[in-house]
Each structure stands twice: as C-alpha cells, then as structure tokens.
C-alpha cells in the first residue's frame, strides 16, 4: 500500500465546515487543520484588495494593474453590479416560471469580471454555463444567454460574433475545445490567446486532464480559469482533490496560481499575466480563482441540505462588490452620484431583461429540423416533410368545419 492510499483512509472533514477554510478567512475549528496531501503550508493566494477594501502590494502582479485608472476601476465595479443585477433578475424570472432553470453566479462576479476584462477582443473564450459576467465583458447581450434557459433554443448565439463560445453543459468538455482552438491559434501564428472556464467539480473530469496534457504537449496559448466556488452541486472540493487545485498544473509542466477569486483587481492582474504568457509562446497556465458560490448550484438545487448557513455568512464578509466599493469610496475614486447613477442603470437593465424574456417568442415549429446538418440529410428532409404534412392536416380539419 502506498503512502497516499494510507492517507486516503483517514477520516475526512465534514462538508458543513470545510469551506470556512478560505485563505484570508479567520480559521477556526476543524477547518483549520491542514488538508491531507498538502505540504502543510497554506497555498499562497494572490490578493491585491483585502476583504476590508484595502489595497495591498504584490511585486509580481502589481505591474499588471499599475496603469489602471479610476475610471477603469469604476468600470469594474459597474460590471460587477450590473452582472449581479442581471443574475438576480434571471433568478427571479425562473421563480416566476419564465425560465426553466438558472445557474446563478452570485458571489463569483470578481472572478468573472476580473478575468473577462483581462481578455483582448481577438482572444477566444470557452465558458461553462455560469459565465454570465464573462459574457458581459465580451459584449454579449445578456438576454442572449437566456434563450436556452427559457427553452427557445439550445445555445442561440453566433460564437464568432464576440469570440465567446456557446455555454457547455457537459462538465469540462469545453476545455478540450479551448485547447484545440488554441492549437489552431498557434498554427496560425496569431498572438491572441484562449481562455477556458471550468469549476472545481470539472477538475475531476478526464477531459480537463486531457486538455492539460494536450495544451502542455503542444504549448498551446490557453489559460485555464478554474473558479473554485467550493461546491460541485452538493459535493465539496475535498471530493474532487487531495491537493489545492492550482497545484495540478505542476504535474503537467505549466504554472498554476491561486488567486483570491473575490478580488477583482487580483483576478484581472493574474489573468493578464497568464494571457501575456500565452501570447508570448510560453504555453498554458492554470488559474484557480478561490471564490464562493453564494447561491444554489442552479435554481433546482437546495444548498441548505448540504452546507451550513455560517459558511455562506463567512463568505459574505468577503463580498467582491462591497470590497471594491469600500476601496473606491476610501480612495475618492467614486462619489455618491456615481453610485446613484449606477443604481438607476441597474434598475433599467433589470426592466429590460424582464421585458425581453417575456417577449421572447417560441421558436417556429420547423426549427426542430433546422441546422441539424450543414450539408443536409435525406432523413431530416423526409421527416420535415412528414411533420409538415401532419401540421397541415390540422389546417385542413379547420377549413372543413
């Protein structure tokens, strides 16, 4: 028996207490015990803005946000506020029966806005189904994201319009698409980069491991952005890994970094750094954004069954939006007028989302047969014709009456 397998037989921490163990949090109780498989030292967490909204120095990553202007800082804040508002509106719409399902990003705004704003227009993004904030940064109309959740399509946008791929439901599949796309970018001699999003649960999937292998072997310009939001539906990160996730990269031969996922500045800086590495031909990077999913996995989920209220409360103290607001106010980079205007803009966005969703037409019946194949298919043609005849039979009956 190996040392590792012996360790695996030790009692594990209970799910309800484990996520208080975030870096930067005051650690008490069983969560303070070192994780099995780690070196004993807490993983380093890149942080530029503390939960209290204080700017802290980091020699490695400060240069990537050194030239950020107050206006840009306000922009990041605006992005996070509007994304949260959009997300809340979608959650409400689901509760009102307007959407079949919604996957909320509540709590992950900094990870998404920070990384999303680090991308360049010609970069390409491969999201999961929760990257509403990244979509926002890419200029995707947020209402486009709602079609599949309302059930009017299974994707519904042109990925090439904003270099933002379709949402991917099968966990981790898109990391391979991102890697292949990045291999193509390298073949083309382009200096753009690719970023693939996935979660802590996806890190257990074979496709993610294979994407690490392929990207390393071919030195593909891809950044793997893992939002470790602590829970894969009801399963805590301990059910996925025995080492901090960012350390996985080491085994594949590329760097891994853990960043405070609730710190938008740090997420921006670290992602810029990783994207620049990719552009300069230095290959893939794994970023683990250490964050928290404050809501349910999706609107079908009930997190009260598997996690404690105190856990969420401890993360609310690290809210990504509040900490930037504190910083903006303390540094006099934003005044009351800005916040008031943003509140009005937020209201308007919510109203627009509601109106657009409710007005979203059901698809034409013949959409079933559209775009199944690019070059056509005899069976699809035959069945479309059968369907048309069947539909027409109702019209004939109507006429006969």
């Amino acid at each position: 028996m190996t040392v590792e397998s012996t360790a695996a037989r030790k009692p594990r921490r209970s799910a309800g207490t484990k996520s208080a163990a975030s870096a930067g949090a005051k650690r008490t109780g069983p969560a303070a015990k070192k994780s099995p498989g780690t070196t004993g030292a807490e993983p380093e967490l890149v942080q530029l803005l503390t939960p209290e909204g204080k700017r802290v120095k980091d020699a490695t990553y400060d240069p990537y946000v050194a030239d950020i202007t107050p206006e840009e800082l306000r922009g990041l804040y605006r992005d996070m506020v509007l994304t949260r508002r959009f997300d809340a509106e979608a959650t409400s719409l689901q509760r009102q029966g307007e959407l079949g399902l919604w996957a909320s990003l509540l709590g992950q705004e900094a990870a998404q806005i920070g990384s999303g704003r680090a991308t360049r227009e010609d970069d390409y993004v491969f999201p999961t189904y929760r990257e509403h904030g990244v979509a926002w940064c890419r200029g995707v109309d947020p209402t486009n994201l709602l079609g599949m959740f309302r059930g009017v399509n299974n994707g519904g946008w042109d990925p090439n319009s904003n270099n933002f791929h379709l949402y991917t439901i099968v966990i981790g599949s898109q990391t391979l698409h991102a890697t292949g796309y990045a291999m193509g970018v390298a073949k083309d001699g382009a200096d753009s980069a690719v970023i693939a999003y996935f979660g802590d649960g996806a890190s257990s999937q074979g496709d993610v491991a294979e994407s690490f292998t392929f990207s390393a072997v071919y030195n593909a310009p891809v950044v793997f952005f893992c939002q470790n939001n602590q829970w894969a539906i009801s399963e805590p990160t301990e059910k996925q890994t025995r080492v901090p996730l960012y350390q996985r990269a080491q085994g594949y031969g590329f760097p891994g970094v853990r960043v405070d996922g609730n710190d938008v500045l740090a997420c921006l800086a670290v992602t810029k750094w990783a994207l620049e590495r990719a552009r300069h031909g230095e290959g893939p990077t794994l970023i683990e954004a250490f964050t928290y999913r404050m809501g349910a996995h999706t609107t079908s989920d009930d997190p009260t069954k598997y996690r404690a209220d105190e856990e969420r409360e401890s993360w609310e103290a690290k809210d990504p939006i509040l900490r930037l607001r504190t910083y903006l106010e303390a540094s006099h980079h934003a005044d009351e007028g800005f916040f008031a205007e943003l509140e009005a803009e937020s209201e308007a966005l919510g109203k627009r989302v509601r109106e657009v969703v409710r007005a979203m037409p059901d698809p034409d019946h013949f959409a079933i047969f559209e775009n199944v194949y690019a070059d056509g298919h005899a069976l699809v043609d035959e069945e479309r014709a059968q369907f048309a005849a069947y539909q027409a039979s109702f019209a004939d009956e109507g006429e006969g009456k």
Binding site: G156, L176, Y181, G184, N371, D375, H377, L379
Partner: protein
C-alpha cells in the same frame, strides 16, 4: 491518369495525401499516425512529407483527440482524426455525441464542424478484445453525425475526399479486413454523391444489401447462388447515415425480396432500420419479410470463435434460401 490498382488502405493514404496537398487547413491527428504511419500504415509517409504540424502524433487520449479536433475546426481547420480501433472510440463517444454532433445546431448554423473521424472497424483479422467491433449503429442513431463505410479502394479514395470536404462531422468506418484488398482507383473519375448506394451486381430474384466488409461476402454469395440458378442483386449501401432508402426501395421493387447483411449485432442495428423502412415503403411489393444476417447479441467473441460469429457465405445463403422459400 489511368485507373490504378491499389489496396484499400493505400487508397485512403492517397486520398489523405491529396487532401493535405489541396488544402492547408486539412490536418491528420491521432495516436501513432506520424512516424509509424498508423498501426495499419494508412497514414504512412504523410508526416514525412507534410510535417509534424500537419500530421500530428497525439497523446494517447481519445476524448482529447476528438475534443481538440473540435476546437481546431472552430478555428477553421479540417481535422481528420484516427481512432486506432473500433473499441477504443468509446472514451471519445461523449465528445462525438454531446459536442461534435450538436454544435452546429446549437449555434443556429453559424459555425461548422468539418471533422472526419476515421475508425478501422469490424472483425476477421484474429485480433484481441476491443479490436473487432462494429459500432456504426450507435453513431448513425445520433442526429448531426454522418456515417459512411467504403467497401473497396475506389470508394475509399473518393469517399474520403468527400468526407473531408463535407461541412458536417463524418464518422468514416474503414473495413480493416479489406485494407489489403486491391481494386481499381480512377482519380480522374467524377464520383457519385457520398451517401448514394451502389448496385454492385444486378439481379432479379432477391436483393442483398450490405456495406463495408460484408459487400465482398455478399458478392461471393450471389455468385454461389447463381450456380443454383438464383439471380441475386447486391447493393453496397456505402452510407449508414443517411441511408439511401430510395436505392434500396428501387431494388426491392424489382426483386421483391431483401436480406440485409452486416457484421454488427442484428438487434437494433442498421438492418433493423432498413427492414422497418422498407416494409413501410414496399409492403405490397414484398414477397417475403425482410431478413437480417449479422452478429449476435453477445460481446464480440475471442478470435478462435469469430468465424462462428461473423456472417459468412453459408449464413448469407441460408437467409437467401429462407427468403425465397416464402
């Protein structure tokens, strides 16, 4: 250029070479496809001539091969990937079914996935477990995929050209026990459509419909039947998705009897679909129920038993007799 006699494997090799030459976006990917030229040498010499950037030896990871091919296709490339053996495609089945097959529709037609997946398939070479399977029905069942299989060198050459040019994902099943069979390939010929069936042999009493490795068996069966005074038509379907039902129907309206032959298990297989459709289309023409000859509902057997499992001349002729007895 005059027609040239070559083995089926060589015809695919020549076809890939032609495609690599014609379009810089065409890529070959797979395990051992480079220096070794593939375990069946189908890609022999291609890396030497087109470089490691075009003929790519991949890590040993089937899902990775297909998943990255999808990404490359999204970037504008036309990857032709090799799965080493039929039974090894299943680690990639998720990527093929949940991603490759559906992405065009999900993007409302705005993106195309011109990926060809080559799979040497079928038995008859005395291989070990997972090296002799015929999973074509599993792929033909999935909307968004096209599924074809050549039975001779000429079709292998031309169908591969057409598969690569297709903007749809194509699963290209190569009958591995026919890799070394030689036949004429005319590279100047204008091929028929990729999904059109072909009458291999004209007949009046019964139609044998087959594809891939079983076409040769059916031609031999027809020849044997002729010695007993029976006139058998042999149809090479060539495509399992879509299936050219019009050609099958035309043949059955002439012969009034149909036997479908494939190596794959009969239960819920390609033959079942053909039997159902042809029964619908030709109910008043049929003199006998559509019969099927194929593999059993059992794992592909060890090599010493595969002759019992695979449809051979006698099993096909037995079905012919049963049909004619109605």
């Amino acid at each position: 250029m005059a027609a040239e006699k070559m083995a089926l494997a060589k015809a695919i090799n020549e076809s890939l070479r032609t495609a690599l030459d014609a379009d810089p976006k065409v890529l070959i990917m797979g395990e051992d496809v480079g220096k070794l030229g593939g375990v069946f040498r189908v890609t022999d010499g291609l890396q030497k001539d087109f470089g490691e950037d075009r003929v790519i030896d991949t890590p040993l990871a089937e899902s990775g091969i297909v998943g990255t091919a999808i990404g490359l296709a999204l970037r504008g490339y036309r990857p032709v990937v090799e799965i080493q053996f039929d039974g090894f495609v299943f680690p990639a089945y998720d990527q093929i079914v949940t991603q490759l097959a559906k992405m065009h529709a999900r993007a409302l037609g705005k993106i195309k996935l011109p990926v060809v997946i080559r799979i040497p398939y079928g038995g008859g070479i005395g291989a070990v477990e997972h090296h002799s399977e015929s999973p074509e029905a599993l792929f033909a069942h999935v909307a968004g995929l096209k599924v074809v299989s050549p039975s001779n060198a000429s079709d292998a050459y031309w169908m591969m050209q057409q598969a690569i040019q297709s903007d749809d994902p194509v699963i290209f099943f190569e009958p591995k026990r026919r890799y070394w069979d030689k036949s004429e390939v005319n590279k100047d010929a204008i091929p028929g459509p990729l999904h059109k069936a072909r009458v291999v042999r004209e007949g009046a009493d019964l139609t044998l419909a087959a594809y891939g490795p079983m076409v040769k068996v059916c031609v031999e069966a027809a020849a044997a039947a002729q010695e007993e005074g029976k006139s058998i038509e042999v149809l090479d379907l060539r495509s399992m998705s879509p299936i050219d039902f019009d050609s099958v129907q035309a043949s059955v309206e002439k012969t009034r009897r149909l036997v479908v032959v494939h190596e794959a298990p009969v239960f819920l297989g390609t033959g079942a679909e053909i039997a159902a459709r042809i029964t619908e289309r030709c109910f008043y023409h049929l003199e006998a129920p559509v019969l099927r000859v194929g593999g059993y509902h059992a794992p592909y057997p060890p090599a010493r038993l595969e002759e019992e499992y695979l449809p051979g001349l006698d099993r096909v002729l037995d079905a012919v007799d049963r049909s004619l007895a109605y």
